[in-house]
């Protein structure tokens, strides 16, 4: 063989594939589906009130010049119960929070608020997941930072824990 370096090609190919396999094992798997709507305006929607006594929610309600959080929750979702005290903490820190209740009944939302408190200014009811789809949201709970002009700035997937509270306050303040 006049080109002995050719012999190394199969080894290089196998080493490359082996390297990919090791890389795949070493990098933690990200099962979350991130929204591609970050940096875009909120989609147009007008949801009915999720329960009596708390106003309904439309996209224009969130474009009043004040940055805020948009929490996607449901009364049937366990992590949503776990994050309730941290939403209260955010509210106490002066953060305005609107919410969308997913596949929920008015009486269930009322019972949820009675048990865990109501940190929300408005709650819209998305019973067919139509707005969740438009937001690029993949589940409950999720929390978005919405700019004063109605731009989606940040998506937090999963429940808010104590360690996320300062970060979310900072993101809302940074949007002012």
């Amino acid at each position: 063989m006049n080109r002995p370096w050719l012999l190394w090609i199969p080894l290089a190919v196998v080493a490359f594939i082996g390297g990919l396999a090791i890389y795949g094992l070493a990098v933690p798997k990200d099962d979350q589906v991130h929204s591609a709507m970050i940096g875009k305006k909120l989609p147009e929607f007008a949801l009915p009130a999720a329960t009596a006594g708390v106003p309904a929610l439309s996209n224009t309600d969130m474009a009043d010049g004040k940055p805020r959080l948009l929490n996607i929750f449901a009364s049937w979702c366990l992590p949503c119960k776990a994050e309730a005290p941290h939403l209260e903490a955010l509210k106490s820190a002066g953060v305005e929070i609107d919410a969308i209740a997913i596949r929920d009944k008015p009486e269930d939302v009322a019972a949820f608020l009675a048990e865990f408190g109501n940190p929300f200014r408005r709650i819209g009811s998305d019973s067919e997941l139509a707005v969740q789809l438009k937001l690029g949201s993949s589940g409950v709970p999720e929390t978005y930072v919405i700019g004063g002009d109605g731009t989606i700035l940040f998506q937090h997937i999963g429940d808010i824990r104590a360690e996320h509270v300062p970060m979310l306050i900072e993101k809302v303040n940074a949007a002012k």
Partner: protein
Amino acid sequence: MRTFVPLLLMLAAPVWAQGSGPTPALANRQLADPAQEAQAMRLMHGLRCIQCQGQSIADSDADMAGTMRAEVRQQIAAGQKPHAIRSWMIDRYGEWVSFEPDMKGAGLLLWIAPFLIFFAAIWLARGLFRRRT
């Protein structure tokens, strides 16, 4: 007790963990026009369900898959082209939502890799045959 507990378990009702709400009308109802329905069905097999991540929205029973099927059928019925609807989904969930990668970036490599390997194989085989003759 040993027979009693399994009997009780049989009676236990599963927890309704997905909440309750109406299913969009077009989630499980075909479009009246068979050509449009076929178009929608083809697209739905190429879109990935957000909740049960390995399945297409055509195969999934998840609530979100139903909402996505309804969206696809609505847009098809309104005369929207399948590739535009696919882009609409990608605008919301990223490339991840499509089972058919675009011919750009890493996706381009996926599309051309078979041809590259094919031509490399021919080139290698050519060398082998030449030596034998």
